[in-house]
Assembly symmetry: C2
Homo-oligomer: 265 residues x 2
């Protein structure tokens, strides 16, 4: 289950907004056994959006999720960008209009459907609108060449709710049973280079994706003694196997930490 994420928003590329959406999505997808292969972030620019979407679709992920650019303002052009990438037009969708009305009614807002508002209901031809249960702009689902495309809003609370309702189950179902166990050692006296040969041996002797070993430098203790965090994750579809694998790996690493002059704090 390979997922790509395309985040759309000039604010993400000008240091205005920290991209917590991508982070949250990566975490949710990884936790159920999906693999996020790439995150791309582009500005609110039609040719950037359409070329990034086209490139992503050419890499054939199972799912492409876009975030942002679904609103009523001049720079919300995700649907136009996606439509261009698919060689389609954007059309006013009556179901999306009903969803907009429903959203306004929820907040007891009696809004006229002005041009700016109807823009939110103008979606790529043949795509399916999804009710936004938090804000107003509908999301969209689209199929292209066996790839499921979801356009989600950029507002985190809206994005998260729609992801959980419409995408998470799909990924879970496709991945099947999935278990992950994690263990971390905070060490002192070791550098990444000292423990590197140990990690590579362990990684080589396991199938890809079943284990994840990573060292994170954590500066120096009293300006002299190097500190690293060693992160160990075991993954699979059998809980006992996953746990046993983690136990075996951590035992080897524990021994090597001491042997190489380090301590676990």
């Amino acid at each position: 289950m390979i997922v790509e994420i395309l985040c759309i928003g000039t604010e993400l590329l000008s240091g205005i907004t920290l991209n917590t959406n991508a982070y949250w999505l990566c975490s949710e997808i990884t936790n159920v056994g999906g693999v996020v292969r790439r995150v791309t972030v582009v500005r609110d620019d039609l040719s950037e959006i359409s070329s990034a979407a086209r490139e992503s679709l050419a890499r054939k992920p199972n799912i492409l999720i876009t975030t942002g650019g679904l609103g009523a303002t001049y720079d919300d052009i995700t649907f136009e960008g996606l439509a261009a990438a698919l060689g389609k037009k954007v059309v006013l969708d009556s179901r999306a209009v009903e969803m907009l009305k429903k959203s306004y009614a929820r907040h007891k807002l009696h809004y006229e459907l002005t041009e700016s508002r109807l823009k939110m209901a103008s979606i790529p031809e043949g795509s399916t609108p999804i009710q936004n249960p938090v804000g107003s702009a509908p999301a969209v689902m689209e199929q292209a060449d066996g790839i499921s495309i979801f356009c989600l809003p950029g507002v985190p609370s809206e994005m998260k709710t729609i992801f959980k309702e419409h995408i998470l189950q799909r990924i879970k179902k496709s991945v099947g049973k999935f278990v992950a166990e994690e263990l971390n050692y905070n060490t002192r006296g070791l550098t990444e280079a000292i423990i590197a040969p140990v990690l590579i041996e362990i990684v080589k002797s396991h199938p890809k994706n079943m284990i994840y070993l990573k060292t994170h430098p954590r500066g120096y203790y009293r300006k002299k003694t190097p500190q690293i965090k060693i992160q160990m994750i075991s993954r699979g579809d059998n809980e006992k196997e996953v746990k046993n694998r983690l136990a075996a790996i951590s035992k080897v690493i524990e021994k090597e930490i001491v042997k190489r002059g380090g301590i676990i704090c």
Copy 2:
């Protein structure tokens, strides 16, 4: 001055690490008048790194900055990926070896230059190593087809120091004089759709990149009254013009907020 950023690290795509590096770089570059056109995030995977680098170079930014993957562990393969993208080999560089030695000496560490450590000094043929003044792994500078490529470490403190010393001045010099002024209105009673027609008129009547207008939805006050933040940024090379432009725009927007039934909080 167009910049692309390529962030390398499986931890960024599995919800382990929030990509604050990209955020910080975008902010620094924008603040001096550069434009970050795209951020791409890939896993520690050779073909992903090389294809993402190749795609970025084909888009001809002025600068390509990569972050991460310069360390001593098995999954640090940025130099191999970049070399592959450039059709080059990775070679042990004697200057990079000296830089490593200098880094160790700084912390009074008497390390042997093992295979794992020498990996950090094995850089794309023809590229220039850059001393890492915080950690040990050298950074790299490379020229290709008029594009300046910088490979920076993933550890934020190391990345930031090298960026400030070696890239920031280059961007500043290329952009020349640059001023930006920002003003924000927190409003109540307006939605993005209500103010959208005002914003598009203002944006249309100014040269691109001189102003940035953006609305940020901020939920509902007492579950009923919509709240948005209106962000206005004026940019240019003349301080007086930039300020006058912002004053003129904010005056129009202020008037329209009230006219359309909103208040500034």
